[in-house]
């Protein structure tokens, strides 16, 4: 019996490992272990003033800090009957786009790219492919700028609050973002053009179509909505988050697991592009039409390409969004009408649908429930690790470890990992 064990995953946000047990040519067991230390955040929120919730939940994750803040704001405002002005909604869209593009660029260009070109990391890739890596880093830096301008800091900015923003950016700052976005579009097009020529391996392609889930963003492609679209035309309200995710605890992970109708499902960029791709516009739509095919429905490795299309969409979207933001005056902060209520709010974080639910009584949180995208993807990751291991065992057993890591990394989990700390343990 052979065990493939990845102990400490490097280039990751968080702490995780993989254990694949192989008996001859048969895959016996696949486990994605999450040993990130628990913080029990939901329990810490109990008894807190609802305003303080926004100081705590963004700290769940430094990469998705604004997604947590936004999902929390949506839930709290719904619960307390706050409706904000158009400018506030547009500014929130802008901040979320900043986070999506920053996180997607980090994953595509820094973490996943070396896999597709067969390099151990971007440092080794830099000599041969400097231009594309520099493009990626510029896009990432741009995302950081958008996050900083809208939220006040690159990480854990406190500017977006219930009812509005503490302060609005100056037109000068918004114009700078617009200028940079326009400048980056042709560079991103080149990157898409270049990367679309790379062949996506089929070792982790399933036979059946994946069940995808993402928020229904309305007529246009986007990252905010009140209902969840599910493959094969199903649509459910975010209030049904418990039935949509069915969280459960497993013994090898401090992250919970999710299924829908007892089946695993996928969230994230690949889900969004599969379900909403027809709603893309401009260059991103052009490349969607050019690149998309039925393999995207069966192979998680296409997630990086979906992220790339989203990068292009965001860069093209931001200039018009800024023009719209500038048309409105800075509104006053809206004060809640109620002090009690309960509601769910969701946004698409870079890695997929993020749900926040709160029950409030006299302004105090009495129940809190948060479901993160990585939780939702973990079962699916194990399923595809098994598919990949079975396919790889039929062929050569060379490189099996690094290929399995590639599968996990495709999901861009908060435990996305590198190819260098694999341990093969012979029993």
């Amino acid at each position: 019996m052979k065990k493939i064990k990845i102990d400490i995953l490097s280039r990751v946000e968080g702490h995780g490992g993989i254990l694949v047990t192989i008996d001859g040519n048969r895959v016996e067991e696949v486990k994605v272990n999450i040993y990130e230390g628990p913080r029990l955040i939901e329990q810490l929120l109990i008894g807190k003033d609802y305003k303080e919730c926004l100081n705590i939940v963004p700290r769940i994750c430094a990469i998705c800090t604004l997604s947590h803040r936004y999902a929390s704001i949506r839930a709290l405002e719904r619960a307390l009957g706050v409706s904000v002005k158009k400018k506030v909604l547009l500014m929130r869209d802008l901040m979320l786009l900043g986070e999506i593009i920053e996180s997607n660029a980090l994953h595509v260009f820094v973490l996943a790219l070396p896999d597709f070109f067969g390099f151990p990391s971007i440092t080794e890739m830099l000599q041969e492919h400097r231009e594309i890596i520099m493009t990626g880093l510029k896009i990432k830096e741009f995302g950081n700028l958008v996050m900083k301008t809208t939220s006040a800091r690159m990480i854990h900015g406190e500017n977006p609050i219930i009812g509005g923003f503490g302060k609005y950016p100056l037109n000068k700052e918004l114009n700078e973002i617009k200028r940079k976005a326009n400048e980056l579009v042709p560079m991103a097009v080149n990157a898409v053009e270049f990367l679309s020529s790379v062949k996506v391996p089929n070792f982790c392609e399933g036979k059946e179509k994946i069940t995808f889930m993402c928020l229904n963003s309305g007529e246009e492609f986007g990252f905010v909505g009140d209902t969840v679209l599910i493959s094969r035309g199903e649509e459910r309200n975010v209030d049904e988050y418990e039935n949509l995710t069915n969280e459960r605890v497993v013994s090898h992970s401090y992250a919970k697991r999710c299924t829908y109708k007892e089946k695993t499902f996928t969230v994230g960029a690949i889900a969004r592009v599969n379900l909403l791709g027809e709603r893309l516009k401009g260059e991103s739509f052009k490349y969607f039409k050019k690149m998309y095919n039925s393999r995207w429905e069966k192979n998680p490795l296409f997630n990086s390409y979906a992220q790339l299309l989203e990068i292009l969409f965001v860069l093209e979207k931001i200039p018009s969004l800024i023009d719209e933001i500038k048309r409105f005056k800075n509104p006053e902060i809206e004060i809640p009408e109620k002090v009690s209520g309960r509601a769910t709010g969701a946004v698409e974080a870079p890695r997929g649908t993020l749900y926040h639910h709160y029950d409030l009584e006299n302004g105090i949180i009495i129940k809190a429930y948060i479901i993160t995208p990585t939780d939702q993807n973990l079962d699916e990751m194990e399923r595809f690790l098994r598919i990949a291991a079975e396919n790889l065992l039929k062929k050569s057993k060379k490189d099996i470890d690094s290929k399995l890591e590639m599968v996990v990394r495709a999901y861009d989990p908060c435990i996305s990992c590198s190819a260098h700390l694999v341990k093969v343990v012979h029993k």
Binding site: I8, L9, S10, R11, V12, E13, G14, H15, N33, Y35, E36, G37, P38, R39, L40, I41, E42, Q43, L44, G47, K48, D49, E52, N55, I56, R59, I60, C61, A62, I63, T65, P120, S121, T123, L137, E141, N144, A152, R153, M154, I155, H156, G157, E158, N159, I161, F165, G166, K167, V249, V250, S251, H252, S253, Y254, K256, S418, A419, H420, L421
Partner: protein, 258 residues
């Protein structure tokens, strides 16, 4: 000879390591002046050897982490916790010592046993090992990190801000949120270094950098009572980020002042 550096993450959001990673331009210049032997969030091929300096993010919440921080300390000359979690315990230590950790744990994970590790209530790094300096922040400021980094690799003693956010805010000539706007701003009792960024945005300070040395907690407490907050709500507010240090600071407030 170049100093050997290790950068490690324990329980937290990874925002301090990410702050370092976000400083791409500086990163290459500064890191060239030392040998970064281990930084698993940012690079591969990490070596675990004797270190001149270790920077530690996150608090300790599991038995494996406890063993690992002791092991890192044993092979490190200068050990520097960075960020509110490592320095004080962070948000996950806000209810430290209330005796209800097990109850909270079971509310999240139920009774099902998770076998990969055993957990306990979050504690800062200095609860387990000796620490040499602390870089506070939630997240840390890149500027302060690189200032400490540069001093340490050149064998100088780093200088950390020892005044409150309130001072930084005054430099920016902001209208006082605490006195003039009647908002619960923790600027006077919170350690500076963030650049009073929230206050510049008319958002009251929530104390994310932890308590400043010799913080006048009693007077801040009195001001917030006057604003109409209950003693319990104020104590919860004071304890949001400061973990173990805040736990001590608020200890006698209610008995003494209410």
């Amino acid at each position: 000879m170049k100093k050997k550096i290790g950068i490690y993450g324990f329980t937290g959001c990874a925002g301090d390591q990410l702050t370092i990673i976000h400083s791409e331009d500086k990163l290459l210049t500064f890191f060239d002046k030392a040998e970064i032997v281990s930084f698993s969030m940012a690079k591969s091929n990490n070596k675990e050897c004797e270190l001149d300096i270790a920077f530690i993010e996150g608090s300790i919440t599991t038995e494996e982490q406890r063993k690992r921080i002791i092991e890192i300390r044993e092979r490190t000359n200068i050990l520097v916790p960075m960020g509110a979690c490592a320095c004080f315990g962070g948000i996950q230590s806000m209810k430290l010592g209330d005796g209800k950790y097990k109850e909270r744990y079971e509310k999240v994970y139920g009774k099902k046993k998770i076998t990969i590790d055993t957990t306990f209530e979050s504690q800062p790094i200095n609860a387990f090992v000796k620490v040499d300096f602390c870089i506070p922040g939630c997240p840390i400021s890149a500027r302060q990190f690189f200032s400490v980094f540069t001093k340490l690799i050149n064998d100088f003693r780093p200088v950390l801000y020892s005044f409150p956010v309130c001072t930084e805010c005054k430099w920016h000539e902001n209208l006082c949120l605490l006195i003039e706007k009647n908002l619960p701003c923790l600027g006077p009792i919170t350690r500076a270094g963030c650049g009073a960024i929230c206050l510049d945005h008319s958002i009251p300070c929530v104390g994310c950098w932890g308590p400043v040395d010799e913080a006048n907690v009693a007077y801040e407490f009195k001001l917030l009572i006057e604003q109409g907050f209950s003693p319990e709500a104020i104590i919860k507010k004071f304890r949001m980020f400061g973990g173990k240090v805040s736990q001590k600071l608020v200890k006698n407030l209610i008995g003494k002042y209410v």
